[in-house]
Amino acid sequence: MNGTDLVALGPLLALGAAAVVTLLSIAVRRHQRATATIAGLGLVAAACALPAAADVAPRQVTALVRIDDFALLYIGLFLAAAFATIVLAHDDLRRRAEPHREEFHVLVLLSTLGACVLATSTHFASFFLGLETSSVALYALIAYPRSGPAHAEAGLKYLLLAGASSAFLLFGMALVYADLGALSFDGFAAALLAGRGTPALVWPALALVVAGASFKLAVAPFHMWVPDVYQGAPAPVTGFLATVSKGAVLAALLRLFVALGGVERPVVVWTFGALAVTSMLAGNLLALSQRSLKRLLACSSVAHLGYVLVAFLAAAPVALEAVTWYLVAYFVTTLAAFGVVTVLAGGDREADALDDYRGLFWRRPWLAALLTGCLLSLAGIPLTAGFLAKFYALAAGTSEARWALVVALVVNSALSAFYYLRVVVAMAAPAPAAAPARRVPLGAGVLLAVLALLLVGLGVYPAALTALIRATATALS
């Protein structure tokens, strides 16, 4: 390893260092605002290391990670999402009046580090390491507030199921190694293309890897944990879980399947196509009957991952562009939605039941307008980022003439509008006499304003993001 390698690894190193420094600062003195500031600065520092890393990209650093524009784009996305999480959590933690609130920020940094490693991984070892670093921190984050049993229950549920999925993943990797002696994605692909694989071992291995990843992505039928965990986790953590954790696994899967390229394409298409359709249907049908906004967003996220998989199945450059676009739009929308949920929390409970949103338009017009924007974006209505995202997913599907998937997406999209609109109508209903609302803190207010601008900006002027993504997508294919 030489100096250039270190520059390329800069963002990861800065993030790791930030976690250590934050931890040490807590040892010196417990101060929630200071800790949050240090963690935030750590994320900014990591982001500042991105341009330098981009100058030396693409670069394979050891056999484990590859720093290229694709990875850097995803790292940037994760850093931004983590920053948003810290801003929101700062408000949330203060409201909860928990003792020992400071370690929360360390855990966010660690989980983000794991996600960034996933985005760069070209090897099953770094895949697994990144995934575990990300997940272990999340177990603690989900169960962080000790005010009630719901958080602990959610944390435990995630721990058990994520542990089981890691076991699947690990077993799959072990089978690959047993059969082919390769753990790097390229080595795996080369061995398969050379016809060295034993079908009885390689196919179960791939199936296990896909199953393990599907747990993390929460695509049906591996989605059972989602509603409970989304509801039980504090709202900023739910936002983090929905975006960074899933985005990272998707980035790693993209790398793996781009490397595998043309290997047994029909089987891959059928597998992911089936996952996509079941996810869309399961997510949307479950969401129809939810009475809790967090559970509703959880079910809708299952459906959205189904839409992403439609984009995932296109040919490499189209798929990369469509998936990345979808993820960016989904990140913005989801973070904004959970941001609204966070700042609407009052007293000792979160605003979760749909009844909490009744008449919100007349009580908190700005927040209600933003949440409406988020829901319309999730439904894929014009003027929002989600519209372009859905356009990309459909365009990716039609480019390969996968009409069954496209029609499934269309039907589900119409279905999903039904429950998003239910929330909008509830917000527009006459306002009940409500408890005095908490003021939106400055940091969270600025963050939500930026997210709202992005939500509309991406919907009105998509060309800039497309140009950025297109520049990076060439790095992979």
């Binding site: 209505i381 014009p382 039609t398 269309v410 999209s413 109508v425 297109r470």
Partner: protein, 485 residues
Amino acid sequence: MSLLWLVLLPVVGGLLALPLRDRGARWVALGALAAALALVCAVWSAGDGGRVADLSLAWLPQMGIRLHLALDGISFVLIVLTLVLGLLAVLASWTEIRERVGFFHFNLLWTLAGIVGVFLALDLFLFFFFWELMIVPMYLLIAIWGHENRTHASFKFFLFTQAGGLFLFVAILGLVFVHQQATGELTFDHDRLLDTPMSEGVAFWLMLGFFVAFAVKLPAFPLHTWLPDAHTEAPTAGSLVLAGLLLKTGAYGLLRFAIPLFPQASATFAPYAMALGVAGILYGAVLAFGQRDLKRLIAYTSVSHLGFVLLGLYAWNEMALQGVVLQMVAHGLATGGLFVLVGMLSERTHTRDLEKLGGIWDVAPRLGGAGMVLVMAALGLPGLGSFVAEMLILFGTFRVAPVMTALATLGLVCATIYALWIVQRTFHGENRGGWSFADLRAREAGVLAALIGALLWLGLYPQPVFDVARAALASLQGVVSGGHS
């Protein structure tokens, strides 16, 4: 740039009206619409009658998507109709809407902006953008300010139009990728997609995708079930915009996109589409006189009248097409006027039930007189716009499909029955409800007089509309016959 402003004026007006209360919001809405009306007239009169303005800017160049807006005769007629009815919608809700006035006008103006955009867009992606844009505010208009059963009706409206819209989107994407495969050029531009070479099967399926979306909006016979609910439950301004304008976007879509883009497939499909049109004419008319709710009755007459539009469109000759354009305008004015009238009536009586109404003429002769004229316009009395339009459609269609035309003519007989039924049950007879209320106020009388005046003008001297639309229709016909050769 002036075309962009045509869309932006209502958008900006809506944003300005949003924080305002009562009078302020209403005047801002009137001002924005009047300014847009003046602008479109200025742009049109500066041109030579063809495609007078054309704006094409890069929007998402990587995907071949451009901000392409153009104004020709058909667009001009429909945009003027949009803005005029928009002005009347603001006036008609002057006293009806008392809650959240700013937000109401925001939704109304954004719906109108979407509709104006639909009539201007020549990039298919942009067209779809506007197509979807108008749905959400319209939905909110029904869901928030509607009548008793508004939640159900607004959901039904949204789901039908949204599902239809997504099929349109898939069809657009399909067409674009077929075009890309054939020519290597990725573009959503209407002008470039016109002569896309494709196999008959592909063309048929894509055409069907377009047709379904437009037929939902139109609404054509089996896809119309959202309409009676939505029209009945919407507030007056909502019903006016729905009947007068939203339905026209479906007809416009068929005229501008579905048929010219797929001339061959449309010719194959024409008999079925015309059969659906005739079915709509008869079915809508028969159901209309089974209704007790006055608004529901008028809603079904829309199904019937728009059946003529579908019939005329697929006949595709100049006479029928001129009739179609005129029918769109005349139906917008007549049915819109009827909804406004019912709004005024139910503001006074708090009922729309034909069993309870009656004897209104004695109480409010001006209201009754205006109602009489509008109902006569709906049944197609000579001298009023609808008569000219429906006759032209029937004459034009007769050359192509005499049997269909004969059946469609039965619709006129039914129209007479339901129209007279309205007059008899509402205005004549015994005053069973013991009604007693003030007659039309000056503002209300002005709104109805403007509508009736326009209908008379169209009925007695429709030539200006024909002149405006002629060049645009000729170029559409040229495109289609070019495709045949």
